[in-house]
Symmetry: C2
Subunit: 465 residues, 2 copies
């Protein structure tokens, strides 16, 4: 069996904790592992880790790869050169597996859902495997326990004499409340969890029949000869979801009711729901103080968050944005995200702290002609060999020891030392030791932006050949 | 006439904007002037500016002096060497004025109240002056327009044939709601605004009669010979309010109804009340975005503050603490402040940005053995000549030009330059030009605290002889 983790995502619904460049699956919400890492670990209970790969868009590929490398150094990450929704992503994944390994069963899962009971999850997957081997395209449904209007529903009926599976009659879009109530009370509707399973060849055949445009373009890829997804081919794909392209049209769809818990953590209310509460019903994460508060979520990432007398609210603090929301309006957080995007405010896009393969940096302050950052380089981490056309940099080592390359010289700088990096000088910063390296970087220049960077060499593959 | 501005204050009720070391009167809440500055400017409409002086505790004296110096360079600030409530502070002020200038009328006002209609305020004060000249101790009362339980009340009756004043029958502590309603509906109760006026000699005489312990200690001061309040004398004073020591006991108390507007801005609800609202009833200060919010106050000082679907809340963002409070619970903010104080959390005490006579600094980040600050030195500003026993410093000039004294050498450092200040080296930083000077300071050492400082010379008088 092979596993495909769909690791795209816009980062809008858990703003300000998620950002366009740091979406939900990368967040560590309920544990020390991110949702992506937990998804990988969950699949590893079912299949060998070298059978699991992730597909994501280019802008998240480095972050996805960095997180997964902590679990399995050779974790395979495929980067989609442009965004084309789920059907092309899954189609390419199926073709990739067939070309590299031959026909086999493929399990497709989202990267940003929360499942705690891995044992029950595995049982359901193994039940699905039987049906997939019989030629079914299997979807996994969640038995509803409330009249949710935020999920798609799947209508089912009995599937011949099969012990586990159900026949899928119809996929239903997100319903209104009255319709959702009717669905749930009828007893034969399930929530669409976006988890699928099929023989690669069966899925490709379904594409040929129901999505011939995708099928035709897909044939142009030959992953026996190539390892990446070619832009000129992929960008011809239609942008379409797998539900719409295949699932709603094909006849051989079966459903396995998921035995495990499941949460798509799609909004802040879900984060509230999946965390432990104090006796007043408050979830407190970070440095939080409450006085007479009830049924609220307080999330502090850096600063003190104090609540006084509030009830049913969500308060989220990040280094550059604070969000206060009524708990049953958390779907509307997306509206703020969209407004920010429209205004081209960077707060929708990035955090003040930005994670990189070599560690992270935090913007400390910006003014006319300068920008100050705290840079943390992980043990053995190394920034690319680079130069800047518009800025000089000044580094002060706070802790650890830096190996600085400047032009053709290499210096070792201990805590307390500092160095100037002139405009256009080739330079690199590395941490060869096992202690974290921290430096303050003061950038000076007329243009201080992340894109003023020419990379010459990079141990994380960020230099194009 | 002389004016005394009572400029103490704990900073608890407008936390996190106010702090113990940066209380309400120093805040610029509704205008470009702080409440203290506005109070000084208001009194200057009534008396010469060299007749106005402020009395405050030692820990606020530099900040009070710095703010008032912007209006009047020689503004007199008396520092109480320890906290003893209002009666000793006013007693010492009266003695000071008698000793320096002879008997005269004194107007005593709090430094942290908001009065917009200065003309009407002046009219009431001039009415009070007549009564004070007749030997009354005059208090100024506010005609209630709601059943406030947060203020003291004053019961009045007719004062012989006087055109303006009323006879004070009784001072009442903060009442419960039912009692407040009864007071207000009776028509002869006023709010106690904490503004007093008297002939210095009349007040001293009242002390002799009703607070003989204060009177006795007061005689030990001789401000003909000294300019500061002696600790060994002042610390013998009882800690008691002027209301309790004199006003509630003396017979010759009159009340002038204040004609102007008045607000003690005693809680966040008051800040909401005194600011302009959008059509949904929201007050937005700073970088604020709202989606479907009502009747709320959003105060952002540095970061983006986003509200979604909330109603009747107060959200205050500062560089190190976020506070979210139900609008009609804002009196309870004090409870968080008190808890922090109990826990010895610095968040009750100071801001991440700290104002100094020479400009300000902002703590950017702190870690094991280092602390980074952004330091801004105002034009002509100068830090004291100082040294540190436990830390070295590294300065990077961001903008402007620094004059750095290090040992017996003086350097001029332009933007982009940097310098190391070794442990125990005598040094000073000055901005001799008219452009703001900004530097990044990286402190390194085993003990990084504000009290590791030996001052040798200071243009703001912060070196004890």
């Amino acid at each position: 069996m092979y596993g495909v983790i769909l690791a795209g995502g816009s980062g809008s619904r858990l703003w300000p904790l998620s950002r366009e460049l740091y979406p939900k699956q990368l967040l560590k919400l309920n544990s020390k592992k991110s949702l992506l890492e937990s998804t990988f670990l969950r699949l590893r209970e079912i299949m060998p880790q070298n059978h699991i790969f992730s597909i994501t868009n280019t802008k998240h590929a480095v972050d996805v790869k960095t997180q997964l490398s902590n679990i399995y150094t050779d974790a395979l990450v495929l980067a989609e050169p442009c965004a084309k929704n789920t059907a092309p992503a899954i189609a390419v994944s199926a073709k990739y597996i067939i070309d590299k390994n031959g026909d086999d069963i493929i399990l497709v899962v989202p990267s940003d859902h929360l499942v705690k009971d891995v044992k029950a999850f595995k049982e359901s997957i193994l039940e699905g495997e039987k049906l997939a081997n019989e030629g079914y395209i299997v979807t996994f449904g969640v038995k509803p326990d409330s009249y949710q209007t935020g999920y798609g529903y799947i209508k089912t009926s009995k599937l011949k004499n099969d012990a586990f599976g159900l026949k899928v009659d119809e996929f239903k879009e997100k319903p209104d409340y009255a319709t959702a109530k009717k669905y749930v009370e009828s007893g034969n509707y399930f929530w669409n969890a976006g988890i699928f399973m099929f023989k690669a060849s069966v899925f490709i055949k379904a594409l040929e029949e129901y999505a011939p445009d995708i099928f035709k373009i897909l044939k142009e890829f030959d992953f026996k000869k190539q390892d990446t997804i070619d832009y000129t081919i992929f960008e011809k794909m239609p942008s379409i979801s797998v539900d719409y392209a295949v699932m709603e049209r094909a006849k051989n769809i079966a459903l396995i009711p998921l035995k495990s818990d499941w949460d798509d953590v799609g909004c802040w209310e879900a984060i509230y729901g999946t965390n432990a509460k104090d006796k007043e019903g408050n979830v407190k994460i970070g440095n939080v103080m409450c006085e007479d508060c009830k049924d609220s979520l307080f999330y502090g990432s850096e600063r003190l968050v104090a609540g006084v007398g509030v009830e049913g609210v969500v308060v989220v603090e990040t280094s550059d944005a604070i969000m206060v929301c009524k708990k049953d309006n958390t779907q509307d957080v997306k509206k703020i995200f969209d407004k920010l995007k429209e205004m081209k405010d960077e707060a929708h896009l990035i955090h003040t702290t930005v994670y990189r393969p070599w560690g992270y940096y935090t913007n400390l302050g910006r003014g006319d002609g300068y920008l100050t950052k705290l840079i943390s380089v992980s043990p053995k981490g190394q920034l690319s060999l680079q130069s800047h056309d518009h800025r000089s940099e000044h580094w002060v080592v706070l802790s650890g020891t830096a190996r600085v390359t400047l032009g053709d010289k290499v210096f070792m700088l201990k805590a307390g030392s500092s160095i100037d990096i002139p405009v256009q000088a080739k330079h690199s910063l590395a941490n060869p030791y096992s202690e974290e390296l921290k430096i303050i970087e003061v950038q000076k220049g007329d243009k201080l932006s992340e894109d003023d960077i020419i990379r010459y060499k990079d141990i994380y593959g960020r230099v194009k050949a």
